[in-house]
């Protein structure tokens, strides 16, 4: 048996009339989309126009923001450059073996040969007492003082370069321990220790850079928000009149959001120029310094992707800061 209920006409849910009916522009979807786009374009340019028409205020605000952003991103670049310094060192997990004083050069060379056979070793170099002395004279600046010495006090040194593939610290340490046990070796040192120390310094600097960026990010957020708050105050007459003729909160917010957008974007651009300008100033002296250490260190500037991140972050923070202020303040302004 079929249920009779099934054929009863379904009760339609009572439809509420749309309150917005006849209060919005008609026309096709495409027409309305075009009008919407026009509105955005108009807001984009009129907010820029307002910034230009108040140059003093705009420059002050954008200047403060640009300095905050430049500080954060500049410190970040310093860390990136330091990192470049240690990444160059990462390959040199070299081990220096200082021979006992009584070991002759011939003995040392024989020992070096035996090391060379170790499958974990890539390269072995013997530095004779004389070579070490020449090098020391040349680089230390104590050349004349050393002339006075009757006997060469420097030991024979064997420099061992482990295989490139040897990145495992445990294997390296094991290798080091092996060398330490040898009777010929007085003292074995891995350069990696120094690299590690430098790396931990860089790591600390990186942490500081991140914290600084977060703090200054908040500064951008608050400064942008406050700027918008002041603009709302200046234009409250316009806001109230717009509300009287039927503007929604989001319509009013839009033009202010574009002000936030421009403030953030322009501050990002200025910060980029500030940091790049400072780097250009210090580049000759940094490269001079690097030359003194026979290094091939080149100062790094903002890359394309870093520039994009910088602009997106500064714009985004300013827009979000503006939005929060707008969200709470526009509601409160009501016509009386």
């Amino acid at each position: 048996m079929k249920q009779v209920d099934k054929y009863k006409p379904k009760k339609k849910p009572q439809q509420k009339p749309d309150i917005r009916q006849n209060t919005r522009a008609g026309g096709s979807f495409f027409d309305r989309l075009k009008a919407y786009r026009d509105q955005h374009a108009q807001n984009l340019f009129s907010s820029l126009g307002r910034l230009v028409s108040m140059p003093f205020t705009s420059i002050m605000t954008i200047g403060v923001l640009a300095l905050a952003i430049a500080l954060a991103s500049g410190f970040y670049l310093v860390v990136v450059n330091l990192q470049q310094l240690t990444s160059g060192l990462e390959a040199s997990n070299q081990i220096s073996l200082f021979m006992r004083d009584e070991i002759s050069e011939a003995h040392a060379k024989k020992y070096a040969e035996s090391i060379r056979k170790n499958p974990n070793v890539q390269q072995v170099t013997v530095i004779t007492k004389q070579q070490a002395m020449d090098e020391f004279k040349h680089f230390s600046g104590f050349g004349e003082a050393i002339e006075v010495l009757e006997k060469n006090p420097l030991p024979v040194v064997i420099e061992v370069l482990p295989k490139d593939s040897l990145v495992d610290k445990d294997v390296l340490t094991q290798l080091l321990e092996e060398f330490k046990k040898a009777t010929e070796v007085d003292f074995a040192q891995m350069d990696l220790v120094w690299v590690e120390r430098l790396q931990s310094i860089v790591y600390t600097a990186k942490l500081v850079a991140i914290l600084l960026a977060i703090l200054l990010g908040f500064a951008v957020f608050f400064i942008a928000g406050n700027t918008i708050r002041l603009e709302i105050h200046d234009r409250r007459h316009e806001i109230i009149i717009s509300k009287l003729v039927g503007a929604t909160n989001s319509f009013i917010q839009r033009s202010f959001m574009y002000t936030g957008f421009w403030i953030g974007f322009l501050s990002g651009v200025f910060a980029w120029f500030i940091v790049t300008f400072i780097l250009l100033i210090v580049r000759p002296s940094v490269e001079n310094l690097s030359g003194l250490y026979e290094g091939s260190f080149h100062l790094l500037f903002f890359s394309y992707s870093e520039t994009l991140v910088l602009l997106f972050a500064s714009t985004g923070l300013a827009v979000v800061g503006s939005w929060l202020v707008l969200h709470f303040q526009i509601k409160q302004l009501q016509p009386e």
Partner: protein
């Protein structure tokens, strides 16, 4: 068109400002709202414009009860009314064109349609050719007509005018009233708050008179 049903408005500090107000404005009717100062005229206009809500009773515009509205509906209801003020409330840093265009831009019209309607509206109030002027460059009567053009540009069914001739001499006032009568002929409902007794008497329209918050005539 606009109906008040037993509307009360009470403020905590001053008590009932409006008491049991009921009236019905029909489509295409011009009505004056008058009364001594403090009688509740401006409170009544605020209730219509949704700047304030009634404490009791209900207000119905075009079949829509205001009691059922929440805050986000308010802008759309305001688009059904054109407000005209004694102090014009124009944006001084915008041209006449931009002032009149504001309601259309808000409603989302494209710029061709905006330009066409703004011109039509300015033509109606006799200000065609002054689009590019700023309000301060116009006389008081002209500024008031800009305000009227802005109020009617969106073709709202209801116009609320608060002392529209308060700052104008009798001759200009008469011109403004003539304009209102033209709108009336195309079916617009008009409510004019005024205490210009001579003007009200010579116009011969319906009059709502408030006295200490109560409707005594109408």
């Amino acid at each position: 068109m606009l109906k008040f049903e037993n509307v009360f408005k009470r403020y905590a500090e001053t008590g009932d400002v409006l008491k049991n107000i009921s009236f019905h404005l029909k489509r295409g009717e011009i009505t004056f709202l008058t009364g001594h100062s403090g009688a509740g005229k401006s409170t009544l206009l605020k209730l219509i414009g949704l700047m304030e809500r009634a404490s009791r009773g209900q207000i119905i515009l075009d079949g829509q009860s205001f009691n059922a509205l929440n805050e986000r509906h308010v802008p759309y209801i305001r688009r059904k009314m054109g407000f005209i003020y004694q102090d014009y409330k124009l944006l001084q840093d915008r041209t006449v064109f931009d002032n009149v265009a504001l309601p259309l831009v808000i409603a989302g019209y494209g710029h061709h349609e905006v330009a066409r309607r703004v011109r039509a509206s300015l033509d109606k109030v006799g200000l065609l050719g002054k689009e590019k002027k700023f309000p301060l460059a116009l006389s008081g009567g002209e500024q008031q007509r800009v305000g009227i053009a802005r109020a009617v540009v969106n073709k709202p069914p209801l116009i609320i005018a608060d002392e529209p001739t308060g700052n104008l001499d009798p001759e200009l006032s008469a011109e403004i009233m003539l304009l209102f009568e033209q709108f009336q002929h195309v079916g617009v409902t008009i409510l004019i708050a005024s205490h210009d007794i001579s003007l009200i008497e010579q116009m011969n329209h319906r009059v709502l008179r408030l006295d200490h918050g109560q409707l005594v005539a109408g």
